[in-house]
């Protein structure tokens, strides 16, 4: 498996650390209530198809990357810098 880092290009999977679903970027507001945080911390869609997820290019540029990857085939559809995704969302 190779991952296309937006900064460094196509790199070996060993250079990256996996964190989890990209919903981790959408932390609820502090006053959103307990249930919102339970959902945020523990509950996941866990789809068998396209999955948005966070990878850290730890042994490269050390950027967080939002990748869209197919969980059935491991094929990457897109990779974007998490910082860009966050900025775009605002």
């Amino acid at each position: 498996m190779r991952i296309d880092c937006p900064n460094c290009g196509s790199r070996d999977r060993r250079e990256f650390q996996y964190l989890g679903a990209a919903v981790l970027m959408d932390r609820p507001a502090p006053d959103a209530g307990e249930q919102a945080f339970v959902e945020y911390v523990y509950f996941r869609e866990n789809p068998a198809g396209a999955h948005r997820e966070l990878w850290l290019h730890e042994m490269g540029c050390r950027s967080w990357i939002v990748a869209e990857r197919n969980m059935g085939t491991h094929e990457f559809a897109s990779t974007r810098l998490a910082a860009d995704v966050k900025r775009g969302a605002k």
Binding site: A21, E34, E39, V41, F43, R44, E45, N46, P47
Partner: protein
């Protein structure tokens, strides 16, 4: 037919023509009291205990593929009960006790072998943890000892005792642990359930659930609609997908765990050996192949295959521990899908849908829990109460904070 040495002898003399298929292949009925989704070890064991312990025999087990073709046949068959958190200690101890009587109970040879399990320690601190772990095992009557370095050298002369990174200080010996043949376990439970009247329906994919007023009333399948009073979900790595059909989410990510087997060798390895610091464990199958594996690949996956970096890592760890395996050739490797929960412990509970029960989140330890998991799930479905050995595996614990985090890894499923 009840299996016995006499039947083997008699059928041998008569050309082995009288053996019958081990379970029927029935058409699904219109309605059942309980429908179990998933014909793996847990699903079949649940159906078996529903029929035998609770007298509920109008039960169907729906399997998308064929019996033994899913994750039940994609594990490394290790059975152990050397846990430390209270909930896991009592549950896996219950499992071991059911394993010990399983072959007599099912009248089926599952090749259960309590060959013992060695967990290696590499520092003074770790040896103290091993002693504590052995005490937990002893308290449950499952046998636990601490082996000194001298004892390790005597029992396992083939290990590398000069590894500078992880020098072996000693080990925790868990004599009641061992292995069983995984397909035989599912076949045995399938046969046992079938003989009690359970319908095992293969090639029957669940496509949705009919839910009325928050209550499940039936299952839409590739072989038509099946009405039911209760649904039990036991679909291992596919829990997320099936739960989505019923309209709820789970605290679970699906991950891939690889395992490997070498060509058949003469007997060299009498126990199961766990080399936790190197992320490596190994045993030898009765056929002679060395069966070994390591940690999860670490990213979500439904692909039933992993990547080369983990294979390389496992091979390195194996060579660091047991240089003698270096000349054996790898026969094949495979990946199983694991329901990794957010605290690394399973869930046997009700779900947000009424009469819809879930048995899920076994992480990479589902095989050893087939006996107790099936027993506890059947108990919950039949009586509505938690089984005393599995009353902490609730879905609610993720809200209340009563997590059972054996490794202390936090809400990181890939790290448990």
């Amino acid at each position: 037919m009840r299996y016995s040495a006499w039947e083997v002898f008699r059928n041998g003399l008569t050309g082995n023509k009288a053996w019958k298929p081990v379970w029927r292949d029935p058409e699904p009925k219109q309605r059942y009291d309980v429908v179990i989704v998933g014909g793996g070890g847990h699903g079949l064991a649940t159906a078996y205990y529903l029929a035998r312990v609770h007298g509920i025999r109008n039960v169907a087990v729906l399997e998308r593929g064929y019996i033994g073709g899913g994750n039940s046949g994609r594990n490394t068959t290790i059975i152990r009960a050397n846990y430390m958190s209270t909930a896991n200690v009592k549950f896996y101890s219950h499992c071991i006790k059911l394993w010990e009587n399983l072959e007599q109970e099912l009248n089926y040879n599952v090749m259960f072998s309590q060959r013992g399990l060695v967990a290696l320690g590499h520092s003074d601190g770790q040896m103290e943890a091993m002693a504590r772990r052995a005490n937990f095992c002893q308290l449950e009557g499952d046998g636990g000892e601490v082996w000194s370095l001298e004892e390790c050298r005597r029992q396992m002369p083939y290990l590398n005792y000069d590894d500078p990174r992880f020098p072996i200080y000693g080990a925790h010996w868990h004599p009641n642990g061992g292995t069983a043949r995984h397909d035989a376990v599912v076949w045995g439970y399938a046969r046992g359930a079938d003989r009690l009247g359970v319908d095992i329906i293969q090639n029957c994919a669940v496509q949705g659930f009919r839910i009325e007023a928050g209550k499940v009333v039936g299952v839409e399948t590739s072989r038509g609609f099946i009405g039911t009073t209760k649904v039990g979900m036991a679909v291992a790595g596919r829990s997320g997908e099936v739960a989505a059909m019923a309209g709820f989410r789970l605290p679970i990510e699906s991950h891939v765990l690889q395992a490997f087997v070498t060509e058949g060798l003469k007997p060299v390895l009498p126990t199961v050996i766990g080399f936790g610091m190197g992320h490596f464990y190994i045993s030898q199958s009765d056929k002679g192949g060395l069966v070994f594996g390591g940690d999860l690949d670490g990213y979500n996956s439904y692909a039933q295959r992993g990547n080369l970096p983990m294979m390389e890592h496992v091979a390195e760890a194996g060579m660091a521990l047991m240089p003698m395996i270096g000349k054996s050739k790898l026969l094949r490797s495979w990946g199983g899908i694991n329901d990794m929960t957010m605290d690394g412990s399973p869930i046997i509970d009700r779900s947000p849908v009424e009469n819809f029960f879930i048995n899920t989140g076994w992480c990479y330890g589902g095989f050893k829990a087939i006996t107790g998991g099936g027993d506890a799930f059947a108990h919950l479905i039949a009586t509505g109460n938690y089984h005393p050995a599995a009353d902490k595996f609730t879905l609610k614990r993720f809200e209340t904070g009563e997590l059972i985090d054996e490794t202390g890894a936090g809400p990181r499923p890939g790290r448990h």
